[in-house]
């Protein structure tokens, strides 16, 4: 099949960037979307032009490195699919495809279609963990966890950190990402000691990184390649309100005269 590609090209962080149109013939329908871009890049190099930079690594839908906005959808038109797992059989001869990077203040463009998602790592630094020292764990089967709870925690834990939720959100919010992490731990006994701290700190960090606010558009769950539900956003809201508004401060256990 033949394709017309409109691709965002930007030399570096400072460059203004622009769309450039490319024509590609002989695209095989069994190719993955990224393999199609590989073919384009090989042709560009042979012509002496600069290949299109895009992020990718495992190419099996789990590392979360890849991510392109394809014709207006993060990760493209297929639901529950990462860009690397999208195959060209979902396009047809003569299609025009517009390819853009994730757009968010918190994800500055590094080059072409590559963005800097270190803001997600920084969110994780604000409590996306259980503070447990190596070697201090008890026997794994001492803690009973109902299968349903564990499965639900796994639903949240499947997040691959690709950032499509942010890219799709009309407000550029990172709520689905943060909610998945907070819920994962809130559902498990291991996450209880730091439950409140985690919710408060991660939500505050989200603010500091320049993400937008959730207005319940539900776009994030619709593009999430792991189909993570916005039920977790409800859970995050609950966790945050319980931790910050409803519960008393955990201090004041010592009497002070004046």
């Amino acid at each position: 099949m033949k394709l017309k590609l409109n691709i965002w090209r930007q030399k570096n962080r400072e460059d203004r960037g622009e769309f450039v149109t490319y024509h590609l013939d002989d695209v095989n329908s069994h190719m993955s979307f990224l393999e199609m871009l590989d073919v384009l890049n090989q042709q560009l190099i042979e012509k002496g032009e600069q290949p299109v930079a895009f992020e990718h690594d495992c190419r099996e839908g789990i590392c979360g490195a890849c991510g392109l906005v394809i014709n207006g959808y993060p990760h493209g038109p297929e639901e529950g699919t990462t860009t690397c797992q999208l195959h060209m059989r979902h396009f047809k001869d003569g299609d025009e495809i517009t390819i853009e990077p994730w757009r968010s203040k918190a994800f500055p463009v590094v080059k072409d279609l590559v963005v800097d998602r270190s803001s997600l790592d920084r969110l994780m630094q604000h409590g996306g963990f259980v503070s447990i020292r190596t070697g201090s764990a008890e026997d794994a089967n001492n803690t009973l966890i109902p299968k349903e709870k564990s499965d639900l925690a796994m639903d949240a834990a499947e997040c691959i950190g690709c950032g499509a939720c942010v890219a799709s959100c009309p407000n550029g919010a990172a709520m689905l990402f943060v909610s998945a992490k907070v819920s994962h731990f809130a559902l498990l006994p291991q996450g209880q000691p730091e439950r409140k701290r985690r919710a408060i700190q991660m939500v505050q960090a989200m603010q500091d990184e320049g993400f937008g606010a959730c207005t319940n558009y539900r776009e994030c769950e619709a593009v999430c390649p792991k189909r993570i539900s916005i039920n977790f956003i409800g859970m995050l809201n609950r966790e945050f309100i319980k931790a910050s508004v409803l519960s008393g401060a955990e201090k004041g256990g010592k009497y002070r005269s004046k």
Binding site: N6, F19, V69, N71, G72, Y73, E79, T98, E100, R103, S104, K105, A106, P170, N171, G172, A173, I200, V203, Q204, M206, Q207, G210, F211, G212, A213, C214, T215, N216, Y217, R218, E219, E221, A222, V223, S229, I230, N231, I233, G234, M235, L236, N237, R238, E239, F240, I241, K242, S244, V245, A249
Partner: protein, 218 residues
């Protein structure tokens, strides 16, 4: 107090305020609508209801102040969120499509200011009478009938209430989500709840100008 201010600094904190005040305003709109629907009973009933409200005196002002504060907080929080969201994506997409977002969600940011503008008009129109061509203080029934008799005035009311309904459709659903009432078992119920009340508000409030225009009440 610091803790609450810290919470307010976050988007969820602001949304909490939006949700709580939104529900207060919703309950007011609902009550207001049922009160006004007494117009279908007759002039005496409606005017008596209006007089009853007027006679509440300080209590009325307390309620008004409360509602005003709720409105101010609602608008303030949402305005802050709006600017936060505006800044979160400095460079827009050339092509952006949506899968889930419905009309009511997409138009919140337009229906909100429009309703606010309408609210001011509505207060000047029926409460103070300054933009009413035939306003008689104390005769609410007369004011409504004569006000709605002008087709474009009714038009404004009908349009505004459709927007109000749309606003509630997403707002009420969001209310559950924002306050954390989210559970796969009851989520369908949330949508039905929001849709029901959205339509109820539209039907109830629109019925009045329509009835006047159609000559059902005079």
């Amino acid at each position: 107090m610091n803790r609450l201010l810290d919470a307010y600094r976050t988007s969820i904190g602001k949304k909490f305020v939006v949700a709580v005040t939104g529900v207060i305003l919703f309950l007011f709109v609902l009550g207001h609508m049922f009160g006004n629907l007494q117009i279908f009973v007759g002039a005496e009933r409606l005017n008596a209801y209006a007089a009853f409200l007027q006679n509440l005196g300080e209590l009325l002002w307390a309620v008004r102040t409360f509602l005003f504060l709720a409105l101010v907080l609602h608008v303030m929080a949402i305005t802050q969120l709006f600017f936060q969201n505006l800044g979160a994506r400095p460079i827009k997409y050339r092509v952006k499509k949506t899968r889930e977002t419905d009309l009511s969600a997409r138009t919140m940011i337009y229906s909100g200011p429009a309703i606010l503008a309408f609210l001011i008009y509505h207060l000047l129109h029926f409460t103070y009478g300054s933009v009413h061509s035939d306003f008689i203080h104390g005769d609410v029934y007369h004011n409504v009938i004569s006000g709605f008799a002008i087709w474009w005035v009714s038009g404004i009311y009908i349009l505004a209430n459709i927007l109000l309904g749309l606003h509630f459709k997403h707002g009420l659903w969001s209310w559950f989500q924002t306050l954390g009432f989210a559970h796969p078992k009851y989520n369908k119920w949330r949508t039905n709840f929001a849709t029901f009340f959205a339509y109820l508000i539209i039907v109830g409030n629109v019925s009045m100008p329509v009835a006047v225009l159609a000559g059902w009440i005079q």
